[in-house]
């Protein structure tokens, strides 16, 4: 008669197997449904959880911009960068890119103090268009007269005797930039009918604007767009309420265009493209297929080795390993983890490591059997003693993975993440799940059969 405990153990084991099958089914179904959606339709049900593919697998464009935050106050840099991110995201979304990734990389030791913006556009291969569209967002700022404007000014003398002066020399940047712009409106001068671009600042911007105008009554304040002065009015009085007007020498077309650009988001800070990467889609799908193939081959090879060498415990290990794989894949879908070629490599390696824990345990069990313990005792001791080794050896892998994750580029983070997740989940599956299965088999008698089943390699488990 089976004890209550044994019954419970067996039921739990069965539930886990069913759960594993469920997970596997889910993974399979969601991939399949996702591939069958006609383009343009919103995914429902299973299809809502496809694998998220990194650029090197899906093909696409990766852009790195450097942001010029020289005029931004230290404690406002973070806000400015986030505002920049939002503006670019809006632009990218109107372009219709599926799942773009736009992220801020704050300055710090690892960045050489630079503020950066990363823009990933999967599936976008027309880099020219993408860069144009992103780059077109105008950069607006207000400058006041340079107090040293009568100082000597540097100029460059070109080969044919031309002298180039830096036109912006006469002006010095202020804190007021397009970041504080609420909206721009196209208006027409009541008397002359001239087109005017009216700017409305937000609350903070209004305050800044008032301060600037108050401090510069009688002097000129220049409005710079994309580094060019488009208007240099003289300030008559302090202006509160945050309304400014840019007038003079616009055609209605130009004014309309400017209003449109300003509204779609004046850039809070100017940006410069410092790095680009495009990967054609065919390279991407090749890499994906190869990755999947390697995973399958790797898994099968390990399964074969486990069954042949470790026999019964080996079979259990393969079942646990399958569960592990299904869980990992499901995790990738849910979190979601962006898979890159290196990420797939990390996953495959983690399969190898997952097996390590099982190997450690089985070798221990063999040793216990050799030392004369019964099979039940050997299993118990084997798991107990092996845990220390497993913990220590996986720990070092985890340290490496964490440092790799900090290290950085999305490519490497992909590897580090799948690797780390793999190590953690594999520890759980090897220790808890395998043990559960083995125990639930309830092998109490030591017969020739059990000796064979628990032996390994070329020998049988000795009594």
């Amino acid at each position: 008669m089976l004890s209550n405990r044994m019954i419970k153990t067996r039921i739990t084991a069965l539930l886990i197997v069913l759960l594993g099958i469920g997970i596997g089914f889910f993974v399979y179904k969601s991939e399949l449904s996702h591939q069958n959606i006609p383009t343009g339709e919103t995914p429902v049900g299973f299809a809502k959880y496809p694998f998220k593919l990194g650029l090197d697998l899906s093909g696409g464009t990766h852009l790195v911009y450097r942001a010029d935050v020289s005029v931004v106050a230290q404690n406002e840099i973070k806000d400015s960068m986030n505002a920049l991110r939002d503006v670019i995201e809006r632009r990218v979304n109107t372009f219709g890119v599926a799942e773009p990734v736009i992220a801020v990389q704050n300055g710090g030791f690892s960045n050489a103090g630079e503020e950066r913006l990363i823009v990933d556009l999967p599936g976008v291969t027309d880099v020219k268009k993408a860069v144009e569209m992103i780059g077109q967002t105008p950069s607006l700022d207000f400058r006041v007269e340079n107090p040293n404007k009568n100082a000597k000014q540097e100029f460059t003398l070109s080969e044919n005797g031309e002298i180039t002066l830096d036109p912006s020399f006469g002006f010095v940047k202020t804190e007021l930039t397009g970041r504080f712009l609420d909206k721009a409106i196209l208006e027409f001068n009541q008397t002359t009918g001239e087109p005017i671009v009216a700017l409305q600042f937000d609350e903070e911007g209004s305050k800044l604007f008032e301060k600037i105008t108050r401090e510069n009554v009688g002097k000129s304040v220049a409005i710079f767009l994309d580094g060019q002065a488009i208007s240099v009015p003289t300030v008559n009085e302090a202006i509160s309420g945050g309304r400014a007007q840019i007038s003079g020498s616009f055609t209605p077309q130009e004014a309309k265009l400017l209003v449109g650009r300003l509204n779609s988001g004046a850039l809070p800070v100017p940006i410069e493209l410092i790095s680009t990467q495009t990967i054609g889609p065919s390279l991407g799908s090749q890499a994906t297929q190869a990755g999947v193939k390697a995973s399958l081959v790797g898994f099968l090879a390990i399964a074969l080795f486990l069954i042949v060498w470790y026999r019964l415990p080996g079979v259990i290990a393969v079942i646990a390993l399958s569960l592990y794989t299904a869980t990992m894949l499901a995790l990738f879908k849910f979190i979601p983890v962006t898979l890159t070629a290196a990420g797939i490599a990390g996953f495959i390696i983690s399969i190898g490591i997952a097996v390590d824990a099982n190997v450690l345990i089985f070798e221990r069990i063999k040793e216990e059997l050799r030392n004369g313990h019964s099979i039940a005792e050997a299993i118990k001791n084997g798991f107990g003693r092996a845990w220390l080794s497993i913990r220590d050896s996986n720990f070092s892998s985890m340290i490496t993975a964490v440092i790799l994750f900090w290290f950085g580029t999305p490519l490497i983070q992909g590897f580090a993440l799948t690797f780390l997740l793999g190590v953690i989940v594999s520890m759980v599956s090897a220790i808890s799940v395998s043990r559960l299965f083995l125990v639930s088999l309830n092998i109490t008698k030591t017969t020739k059969l059990t000796q064979f089943l628990f032996g390994s390699g070329f020998s049988n488990a000795k009594k």
Partner: protein, 293 residues
Amino acid sequence: MFIVKHRKIFITISTILMALSLGAIGYFGLNVGIDFRGGSLAEVEYTGELPSQEVVKEKLASLGFGEILIQQIGTQGYSLKMRPLSETERQTLIGALGSNAVEKSFTSIGPSVGEELVRKSILSFILVALGIIFFIAFSFRKVSKPVSSWKYGLIAVTTLIHDIIIPVGAFAVLSHFYGTEVDTLFVVAILTILGLSVSDTIVVFDRIRENIHGGSSTSFEEKVGKSLEQVFTRSIATSFTVIVVLLALVFFGPESTKVFAMMLTAGMFFGTYSSIFLASPLLVLIERSQKKA
């Protein structure tokens, strides 16, 4: 016992391999890729006939992009390497190649990004090495007799250096004959080797620790020898599984991770070798020289 008895031989073998690898690195050098140097890399595939390199060079000479390195990829394509290109320059480049050239991929990395990567790599390496030393010293802190715990850490680091230098030496040879370059994956490979090979060393040290606690009357040398015998199969088996999986990656996996997987395989292999044939002999050597002192 066999291993421990002949420890001098094994230590010598390792030293020779390391010297050879260092020599290879010094002599052949390592090709540093654009990830670190900065620069641009364009991969183009030609429909129809592949023009000769001279023709391509001529077409691009007038563009003023400086020196361009052209290498053939497969039968239908070229990779072009030069200084970083802006977006407009890239368009000019592709345009100049003609309509039968299709751009498969393009990367341009500004020098500041490259420098940052070098800095991060070095830092990560130091951090991982330190982390591992502390971890080992910590987990072996109770094993102060006869060899103090930090010495275990030191030995582990020595074997780690050994485990990295030999694959890098092999890489230097590869890079000389096949032009393979050092890129971010290379650095990731090294860091991963650090993490993985230490696991194996720990398996062996763990067993030694256990046998030392057992406190029988046998000598330290004998205890180490016995530990090795006990863990031999297990050590080989755990490394074997990871190597099998890595080989699957090398032969069936994506192009971009092939060299990465090869380096990891070499690292794994030498990691196991060093845990069994180098770490323990060194341990005994140290204990011996301590006794003499």
